[in-house]
């Protein structure tokens, strides 16, 4: 499998060196794998820390900056970071008002962030974790590890980040993060597998005309295999699954997200299908994102995330943000 790398072992650290070189607004601790705002913590502001496996760029490091995250901890590819780096990040961003951990619901991420929160607590830093679990492809029941955290993570980081920037306290920032998660749902479709650099071959095999419905962001399978159908039908499959769980009416924030290997022209085409589906059911796409925001290496496919907006959430979404991957209003 062809990749632009020097060796599988050095992918993450060498990419971080590139992030550091490209973005003077960020401070990158390459050895510990922690990305923070170069400006440092602001006194009295709640700190926002997120993290997870690498391979989902721009998530999370690309969302560090004004109005969004204070720090990100990238792990190895598709492997959650370790408690030590989360603790370093938490201490680095603590401005005395406590720290919010934005955690995607995967067993490894939850366990490591839990350990990090305990370590931070020992050092006198108040940490509140918010676990993101928006992926409707997974049945949320006693029989699974629960819904996975996917696209809603971007919405949570933006909106909670905006409220923290306004000076809200930790309880309020955590509450809005949970509200966004509760009001958001996602569904993903894969047309091809990703290739973990250290594995060197596709995580799963799909036939020429086969797709995986309900794909996770690590190439882990979803609900079922199916033959490839036109985009309009794929949009309906994804949105039917979402709509069955959360009514898609009213003002909506909608993201059509590429998995890393999908041309933008196809994402725009898909966004148009998504918009038509939603409008036919009384939904209005009040705000949108179309592009690659939470990827799975070179996987081809898309995910759609829908969030039911409120006036407050819309205001916080529109608030200024200045990060490598999301920037407006400033």
């Amino acid at each position: 499998m062809k990749k632009l790398i020097n060796s599988p072992e050095t992918v993450v650290t060498q990419a971080l060196a590139g992030v550091a070189a490209a973005h003077p607004s960020l401070t990158v601790d390459i050895e510990n794998k922690v990305i923070t705002r170069a400006a440092g913590p602001r006194n009295g502001k709640v700190g926002l820390v997120s993290g997870g496996g690498s391979g989902h760029e721009p998530l999370h490091g690309g969302f560090v900056g004004y109005g969004m995250l204070d720090a990100a901890c990238p792990g190895e590819v598709f492997t959650s970071p370790v408690p030590d780096q989360m603790l370093i990040a938490t201490k680095a961003v603590d401005g005395g008002a406590g720290v919010l951990h934005v955690v995607k619901n995967y067993t490894g991420d939850v366990l490591n962030f839990q350990m990090a929160a305990e370590l931070a607590g020992d050092e006198g830093i108040e940490v509140v974790p918010v676990v993101i679990n928006d992926d409707v492809a997974v049945e949320d029941s006693l029989y699974t590890a629960g819904r996975r955290g996917t696209g809603a993570t971007v919405f949570v980081e933006k909106i909670a980040g905006a409220l923290a920037e306004e000076g809200a306290d930790l309880a309020a920032v955590a509450a809005v993060a949970r509200e966004v998660n509760d009001r958001s749902r996602s569904f993903g479709v894969a047309l091809s597998s990703c290739v973990v650099p250290a594995a060197g071959k596709p995580t799963f095999e799909l036939g020429d005309s086969e797709i995986e419905l309900g794909i996770g962001i690590h190439g882990e399978p979803g609900r079922t295999r199916a033959p490839l159908t036109p985009a309009a039908e794929l949009a309906a499959v994804a949105l039917d699954a979402i709509n069955a769980d959360l009514a898609v009416n009213g003002d909506l924030l909608v993201m059509v997200n590429g998995m890393g290997g999908t041309p933008l022209i196809e994402l725009y085409l898909m966004f148009n299908e998504v918009r038509q589906y939603l409008e036919a059911r009384g939904g209005r796409v009040a705000r949108n994102l179309v592009g690659n925001y939470i990827t799975s290496l070179e996987m081809q496919g898309f995910s759609v995330t829908v969030c039911q907006l409120t006036d407050t959430l819309t205001r916080l979404w529109d608030a200024p943000v200045d990060t490598p991957a999301l920037r407006w209003g400033r």
Partner: protein, 212 residues
């Protein structure tokens, strides 16, 4: 069994995991995210480095296992880092400062490891996880000791039960971890965590055998 045996155990684990790196990763690709062998190999390489770098190095079986666990938690990430790290830490703590470990003490340490894993991961037997290998192994080990088995017999029971426990996961539907997302499609695949647990316990038997 003294510190020499326990150090040999960890060295053997690193070798066995490296030798099975691709196999474990393949098992994980089938029902997870294709990184189990990679992560454990990375972790135990770091453990060997930590054992060599420590000055003075850990002198007791308990200290060796505690350093192993701490390093896995610090270096591995994912679910396997905290889970295996906790297993080794709890086992190390249970062994205390003893310079020599007899069978009942080792049995108690493995029970403590299992309890730590279950407390953290909330998995039960039958969920298609490492617990299926570890629980079967500790049970068989305790029974063999109670029946008066020799060290080599007891360790053979431990490993055979772990391997049988891992194999039993093939027929199970995953209820915990990333494989649970597959639902019924997880049936028919051996759980990579259960397989690595059997490999780690197999390395204990081999290290003890070589140390006699």
């Amino acid at each position: 069994m003294d510190a020499v045996v326990f150090r040999a155990w960890i060295v053997t684990v690193a070798e066995v995991i490296e030798a099975n790196r691709d196999h474990l990763t393949q098992l994980d690709a089938a029902i997870g995210d294709a990184d189990h062998g990679i992560n454990l190999a990375r972790g135990f390489t770091a453990v060997l480095g930590a054992l060599d770098a420590a000055s003075p190095g850990p002198q007791t079986p308990g200290a060796i296992l505690t350093l192993t666990g701490n390093t896995l938690i610090s270096k591995v990430g994912g679910a396997s880092g905290p889970l295996y790290g906790t297993a080794f830490r709890r086992a190390g703590k249970a062994l205390g400062d003893a310079a020599d470990v007899d069978l009942p003490a080792l049995s108690a340490a493995l029970d403590a490891a299992l309890a730590g894993v279950q407390q953290l991961g909330a998995a039960r037997e039958g969920d298609k996880t490492m617990v299926d290998a570890l629980a079967a192994a500790t049970r068989a080990f305790g029974k063999a000791i109670a029946e008066g088995a020799s060290e080599s017999e007891a360790l053979r029971s431990l490993v055979e039960a772990a391997e049988a426990g891992a194999e039993a996961t093939i027929a199970m539907q995953a209820l915990k971890g990333r494989a649970s997302y597959l639902g019924p499609r997880s049936v028919g695949h051996e759980d990579p965590g259960a397989v690595s647990t059997a490999l780690i316990l197999g390395a204990l038997r081999d290290a003890a055998r070589a140390g006699r």
